[in-house]
Symmetry: C2
Subunit: 271 residues, 2 copies
Amino acid sequence: MSLDLGRLSLNQATTMNWGTAQTIDGCARAGVGWIGLWRHKVAELGLGETARRMRAAGLRASSLCRGGYFPASSAAEREERIDDNHRAIDEAAELGAPVLVLVAGPAADRDLDGARQMVEDGIRVVAPYAEERGVSLAIEPLHPMFAGDRSVVVTLSQANTMAGRIGSPAVGVAVDVYHVWWDPQVYTEIARAAGQILGFHVSDWLVPPPDHLLGRGMMGDGMIELRRLREAVDGAGYGGPIEVEIFNQRVWDSPGDEVLALMKERFLSVC
Amino acid sequence: MSLDLGRLSLNQATTMNWGTAQTIDGCARAGVGWIGLWRHKVAELGLGETARRMRAAGLRASSLCRGGYFPASSAAEREERIDDNHRAIDEAAELGAPVLVLVAGPAADRDLDGARQMVEDGIRVVAPYAEERGVSLAIEPLHPMFAGDRSVVVTLSQANTMAGRIGSPAVGVAVDVYHVWWDPQVYTEIARAAGQILGFHVSDWLVPPPDHLLGRGMMGDGMIELRRLREAVDGAGYGGPIEVEIFNQRVWDSPGDEVLALMKERFLSVC
């Protein structure tokens, strides 16, 4: 199956040194029709102003990053996280973003099982509100190297099972190649996710990884079987935007227009 | 189940700044009865001399690190890796180490499936020789963050399945908490490994991880549910030595005798 640039989305994390206004202008210049927005970047420009500029430039939001972070030691803290997820759903609705990406959060008090239950409970609580506002919630498994500091959801199997148990039409999964490429079960689980894939993110795994958090590479520069994964996700019925999400200091320090040009080229040649 | 110091083994990677003679003397001073040896450290002192000094000090080798690294682009290279594994088996036999730890190695040419098959094929080839020499081969799944540079075997499920398919009495698995703690299937897979667990390694997962390779922590300093994992491994019938294996520059830079004292204390208080 061939890929066309109409599916390409720039996740804002790839050009973190750009503000949201610059990102919108840069995508318009480059002919990139989708942006994956981040809440803290949107807040800098303002929610209404971001939505207005996106419309004026003819751009659409592929997703909003991020909700989640459900586990906490006290009930009061967990309640605050729920409130924040409700606000994130409102923001996604106002931006016209069809999907809010959920990052589970780390465990409180070394209790992985307990934290995993808190994630499921939290999503169950916010799902009806998301459905009402027309926003879908994508459970994104993160690479197991983030299990200690960012996400107790670490495999697509786990995300699929959790989404299935919650059983809401508003809840599905996001597949990010950087997080799942190593998994011996990844193709089985992509097939199993058919009908509930809400997002697909690409980048590459560099060897050796230059950094714990900022170590992602441009597609084609690393180890990931990108085309095989993209075709598997397409084969599971996903035809939506594909976000390029590269956390990498060297990419951030490069001129944004050059990053977008290379991203377009690699999107077609290796994805 | 309570733990006694008779099961404590110092993996040489914890005191990398010590030579093998110093390690033997240090363990004797500290009353640590087992050492997990590394081939390159043993080579510095000499194989015969290491075996002689171990015997003289009344110490036993819990394992030898490491064999493996089976995948390679060419048949000739793969043959060299097989030869090296045969040598490693000979060395383990001469040292009286009952177990050779296998690290799978990374994929050649981005082909994960192919590399995983090369690992299984390689172990199949060397297993009869290991059996003949009285050495067991432990397939050690590494953390998925090493999938690009060190091991295409990344889950205990995968190691269990591979060992089962090979079906040799000389082949089993090693469980290292640092590599498997994040896995939602870890307790199921430890139970499934009953009867084929050949080693158990402890350390801790620091948050945030200070380094890709040298980021392990002393037991009790991180996120891992150590006692729960140790009891699960014991519950699966493993009663052998437990190796403390901490790759960490700060630990390496500390006086070895202090590291051993703290390791003994933490072994009893948190494992």
